[in-house]
């Protein structure tokens, strides 16, 4: 098992390096970033000085290596607008974003697993077709619009839930209410898609030999479905969860903006609009690493659940 984890970690390294390359080149896409900072009528000495300060006067390869070395130590540079260290700016934002994405994922699974199982069992009936329609419907829903609708209905018209901000830990009963709408906004749309995926995964498993064996042993429907079929159907679902993770982080960007959630996504949007490239680089980098790590986690869980994988 450890061997497997080790191998997977090794495979990750080129990916992470690749990401650093992509992220680094972001800054240099439109030419001279220092010019962008200052505009045209600034004395040349100031420009040169700033360039030296930022280390931008060396050849690009050297810059990349230096940046990489610093990034490895956790130093992502300094924000252009506030002068704060980028890593310090990102750190307090990680928790809220993870909170949002993890809770949303739980909602997605909580909704889609039962619905998918039911769809599979009731295959061919109205329930199934309706579920397919609902899936298409939810997949077409723009996240930001859903968020605004929630705010409109639950926040403004019904006045039931707070429409922005986030309660700090420890959460009081009152405080958790700030989480409801954002988590639903992020978690519901993918739920429909996952329902379909669960359904197909279940259907595939149900056709397998061992299910028929379980049936022939005389076990009841519930037992067969949950204890045998579902457990095995979960494995491909896990992979699909892993594949959707980037989407979840992307969706978090929008959800955080709509609900004024103090997470990484909102910081990203603010920094992009302010042209604060070091912060943008830092966040993109960090999100990519998070995705890569969670994929690793998924792979490990997958290997744990399915011993065949470990010995590949």
């Amino acid at each position: 098992m450890t061997r497997y984890i080790f191998h997977r970690l090794m495979a990750l390294i080129p990916v992470v390096l690749g990401v650093t390359l992509v992220v680094f080149s972001l800054l240099h896409l439109t030419g001279d970033p220092v010019r962008l900072l200052f505009g045209l009528n600034v004395p040349e000495e100031l420009v040169q000085q700033r360039r030296q300060e930022l280390g931008l006067d060396r050849p690009v390869v050297i810059q990349y290596i230096r940046w990489l070395a610093r990034a490895a130590r956790g130093d992502f540079g300094v924000s252009i607008t506030t002068g704060d260290r980028v890593a310090a700016m990102i750190r307090p934002r990680i928790g809220p974003t993870l909170e949002l994405t993890v809770l949303a994922l739980l909602v997605t699974l909580a909704v889609s697993l039962p619905a998918g199982v039911i769809s599979a069992i009731r295959r061919g009936t109205v329930v199934d077709s309706v579920s397919r329609l609902v899936a298409l419907f939810w997949v077409s829903m723009p996240t930001f619009w859903l968020g605004l609708l929630f705010i409109l209905v639950f926040g403004v018209w019904l006045g039931l839930l707070p429409i922005s901000g986030r309660a700090e830990l420890p959460w009081s009963w009152e405080g958790v209410r700030t989480h409801i709408l954002p988590v639903l906004t992020l978690g519901l749309p993918p739920a429909a898609l996952f329902t379909r995926l669960t359904r197909s995964s279940m259907l595939e498993v149900i056709g397998e030999e061992y299910v028929r064996t379980a049936r022939s042993k005389g076990l009841d429907e519930w037992s067969v479905v949950v204890r045998h079929a579902l457990r095995n159907a979960l494995i491909p679902i896990l992979t699909l969860v892993g594949l959707r993770l980037p989407w979840l982080f992307g969706g978090a960007v929008i959800t955080e903006t709509v609900f004024a959630w103090p997470g990484m996504g909102r910081l990203l949007v603010d920094s992009v609009l302010k042209r604060d490239y070091p912060v943008v680089q830092g966040i993109v980098m960090f999100m990519a690493i998070l995705v890569v790590l969670s994929n690793l986690l998924v792979d490990v869980l997958y290997a744990y659940a399915d011993p065949r994988i470990r010995y590949e």
Partner: protein, 297 residues
């Protein structure tokens, strides 16, 4: 994936499968696609006939009619500058289609070129491409597109470019798969034996065969492209005012969500309807081309 009709009928409680039921179900399936076609055609016609359909000029301000509720001469109300929302939505179809098509085109070109080259030439090129795709998989598309659009400075063109440049991987994978299959087919072998140049073979023989799948895939990618574009516009990186772009319209209405819910709601509805239409259409197309796999997704 295997077909399951045979296996599962023996295990699960099935409703009585009369021929009528089977027929109805097939019709129901295609009905979705038909709805999709209707919606897409409606959007396209709105785009073409916009000046005839829209009752007002979409950029005409009317200071006397700020934030008017839906009704009367303004069927969907007016926004905070007095512009008619219905007209803006109608003209907005042009931008939605333009952006969607442009994005998918860029994604397709990049993806097809990279995917087919990787599959055809194989070897290290293939490995490198697959690594690149892995890397792209790690960074959320929206995040990367946001960053690129921001660096380029926003605006519709830059937004299209940003999304196109980050969203090609599905096309690449698709093409790669197709080319891998076709490459080993007999007529390609023959063409090579006859001394045909690689590029020619790619263009003349392989691509046309993959065309069918490409077209279907393009339709399937439209909804995703439209949603990403709407999101970037909502965040402020899309078209500049006063362009009636739907994502930007939703963003503009955000500050008034309490007093004037219609400013954000209707453009959002337009986005969803259009995306839904393409989804139905794409789903139906996929069904028609490959009925075996259709039922499982």
């Amino acid at each position: 994936m295997r077909t399951l009709a045979y296996d599962t009928s023996r295990i699960l409680p099935q409703p009585v499968r009369s021929p009528l039921r089977i027929g109805l179900r097939r019709l129901r399936r295609y009905r979705l696609a038909v709805v999709g076609v209707v919606v897409v055609l409606a959007v396209v016609s709105a785009a073409l006939l916009a000046p005839l359909i829209a009752p007002h000029d979409p950029t005409a301000l009317d200071i006397e009619a700020l934030l008017v509720p839906p009704g009367g001469s303004h069927p969907l109300g007016t926004d905070e500058l007095g512009r008619d929302i219905f007209s803006r939505i109608v003209f907005g179809t042009r931008y939605a289609l333009l952006i969607g098509v442009a994005v998918v085109l860029i994604e397709a070109v990049i993806g097809i070129v990279l995917g087919s080259c990787a599959a055809y030439f194989g070897g290290w090129l293939d490995v490198v491409l697959m690594r690149i795709v892995d890397v792209m998989l790690a960074v959320p598309t929206l995040v990367l597109a946001l960053a690129i659009a921001g660096v380029l400075g926003g605006g519709m063109g830059n937004m299209i470019l940003a999304i196109g440049v980050t969203g090609w991987r599905e096309f690449a994978r698709l093409m790669r798969g197709q080319v891998l299959v076709i490459r080993t087919s007999t007529y390609v072998e023959a063409a090579r034996a006859l001394g045909g140049r690689d590029l020619r073979i790619l263009v003349r023989h392989i691509l046309p065969n993959a065309l069918g799948t490409i077209v279907v895939f393009t339709t399937l990618e439209m909804p995703t492209a439209l949603l990403w574009a709407a999101s970037l516009s909502f965040l402020g990186l899309g078209a500049q005012p006063p362009t009636p772009e739907w994502g930007a319209m939703v963003a503009e209405g955000r500050g008034f969500i309490g007093q004037a819910w219609w400013v954000s709601t209707f453009p959002g509805l337009a986005i969803m309807t259009t995306v839904l239409g393409f989804n139905f259409l794409g789903d139906g197309l996929r069904d028609m081309l490959d009925p075996r796999t259709a039922r499982l997704a």
